[in-house]
Amino acid sequence: MMRAGRAFVFGDNIDTDALAPGAYMKGPIEALLPHCLEATDPAFARSVRPGDVVVAGRNFGIGSSREQAAQALKLLGVAAVIAQSFGGIFHRNALNLGLPVLACADAPRIRAGDLVRVDAAAGRIENETTGAVLSAEKLPGFLLEMLEAGGLVPYLERRLATRRPAVPPKAPRSGRA
């Protein structure tokens, strides 16, 4: 289980344009980091420290499929995102990049600055500041395995090392003759 981190709290519908603004998408991810969530909380990127957690309401990460949205949080050191619900693609992206995401109906009970400890495998969130223990949706086993491996790439590295690719599919023909 991770150590406790400070909570940075956001509202509903935090979108991927806020997490990874279009203007910084063409360059390296490092150039985007200072602008992550800038339109919502200009101080976020410079205040967040490794191990902190992001807490939000409904629909965190809606919008684009750009995974820089999840990658920026990960590289800023965010240890986990706790939200009432997530945009579907963001949720997949975060797990693929090894960023724990926890869907928790009680996320709004966490206040900015609370010290929060997250156990993704158990679906358990401890608020050290208030003493409250919240439960989050549990992830299926293979996604936890991927998360523990550090994301899809290290997970695949292992898998490809131990297994040859599956047989070619018997799929419908491509649209072009």
Binding site: N59, G151, P165
Partner: protein, 424 residues
């Protein structure tokens, strides 16, 4: 056992006779679409790290549309890397500057009913208009697909949105989706499979169905399906597809689905206020709102059908002074047809400036972005704060009819009056 359309496609791709909502399955991917922003520049390093090539290059289509045309050193490098990737793999298709991926992919005959397809872009549900289960994924997951040809799915529930009756003149698929975003919210689709059904949907031409499926992304669905029929097959034939089947790709009538019913007859043109598609309301409910930019663009709102809608309003009319009318046709082919039939001339005579067949302002990329405090009405899908330019700019979303009529009036107006009344 009875299955919905989504379940039939997923079961087939998972090599199963039957699947049940909630279970997790591994599917073989029939088609993977990538673009220049999330494609080669992001997946290549991962494939190299994994030490593998593309599992089946013939099933991969690469479309350069986001950084087209390049506008500085970095975007020129992205273009070069994209072209090199295409040259070094024998891909099923590579289109550079031919238009926006979601429009070009079916236009060139790559999509078939019944396919399980992924796209490296959030508007990939557009493929659902053809009865394909297509959804968007990020670059790392796409690299995984390119390496293995597989993807996991949690079998979705099907949410049927049934539209009876017929949409009145001046009311479009875009209005349907803004209305639905307003009514059900941006998480109304709950990352499940949305299926559009009913007499009003069946009557829609292909590119209007594409707008429905496209904006399923804004509705929060994973996929947005329309069961294929003769309209679909006719489109595919014109796109050069030799043989496609529609018959197997229909949900069973008794399959379990959540169902919502709507009447098309009473729907009015909708406008979504800044900064969310869910801020939708009938156009008539807006207080006079001045606009400075009118944008007909994007996969959502600048296909041939959309250009024709704009032209129906703009014929014999001009954009108000002080309004910049910008048109970025969604594909080169659509633009060519629009030019040949006179649609484009109507737009140009109305004062429209033509932009490249690419994502442009919609992606928030490039140099034509909205300035500080600028108020824009746009036929695109998203009006998130700062997406199309300055954080202080304000974007209203509407159909191409409404955008065009508002350009003429200089403020947000109901297009039906102009449609009913020929320009003097």
């Amino acid at each position: 056992m009875a299955m919905t359309l989504a379940e039939k496609i997923i079961a087939r791709a998972a090599g199963r006779d039957h699947v049940t909502p909630g279970e997790i399955v591994i599917c073989r991917v029939d088609l993977a679409m990538i673009h220049d922003s999330g494609g080669p520049r992001r997946v290549q390093p991962i494939l190299e790290r994994l030490g593998v090539g593309v599992w089946d290059p013939a099933k991969v289509v690469l479309i350069a549309d986001h950084y087209v045309p390049a506008f500085d050193t970095e975007t020129r490098e992205i273009g070069a890397l994209t072209r090199r990737f295409a040259a070094s793999h024998r891909l099923g298709g590579f289109y550079d500057g031919e238009g926006i991926c979601h429009v070009v992919l079916p236009e060139r005959g790559h999509l078939l009913p019944g396919m399980l397809a992924v796209g490296g872009d959030s508007h990939s549900p557009t493929g659902g208009a053809f009865g394909a289960y297509m959804f968007g994924i990020g670059a790392t997951e796409m690299a995984g697909v390119l390496a293995t040809g597989e993807i996991w799915l949690r079998v979705p529930q099907t949410i049927r949105l049934d539209w009876s009756g017929r949409f009145p003149r001046g009311v479009t698929a875009k209005d349907v989706m803004l209305f639905l975003c307003g009514r059900l919210g941006m998480d109304g689709g709950r990352y499940q499979a949305v299926e559009y059904t009913g007499s009003a949907i069946i009557a829609l031409p292909m590119q209007e169905r594409m707008t429905l499926s496209n904006m399923t992304a804004e509705l929060g669905g994973q996929a947005g399906l329309v069961a294929p029929d003769e309209t679909t097959l006719a489109y595919l034939r014109a796109a050069g597809v030799a043989a496609a089947e529609s018959a197997p790709w229909h949900g069973d009538p008794d399959a379990a689905a959540e169902r919502h019913e709507f009447s098309a007859d009473t729907l009015e043109p909708q406008v979504a206020a800044p900064h969310s598609p869910a801020n939708a309301a009938p156009v008539g409910s807006y207080a006079p709102t001045r606009i400075e930019v009118a944008y007909i663009g994007a996969c959502t709102g600048a296909k041939l059908a959309d250009l024709r809608m704009a032209a129906a309003v703009l014929k014999g009319r001009r954009a108000a002074s002080g309004v910049r009318l910008l048109v970025a046709p969604a594909s080169r082919r659509d633009q060519q047809v629009a030019a040949a039939e006179g649609t484009l001339a109507i737009l140009e005579q109305a004062g429209a400036s033509l932009l490249p067949n690419a994502c442009g302002i919609c992606a928030g990329y490039g140099d034509a972005l909205l300035g500080e405090e600028v108020v824009c009405i746009s036929s695109t899908a998203r009006n998130f704060k700062g997406r199309m330019g300055a954080a202080s700019s304000r974007v209203y979303l509407a159909s191409p009819y409404t955008v065009a009529a508002s350009a003429v009036a200089g403020r947000i107006v109901d297009p039906r009056e102009m449609l009913d009344r020929e320009a003097a």
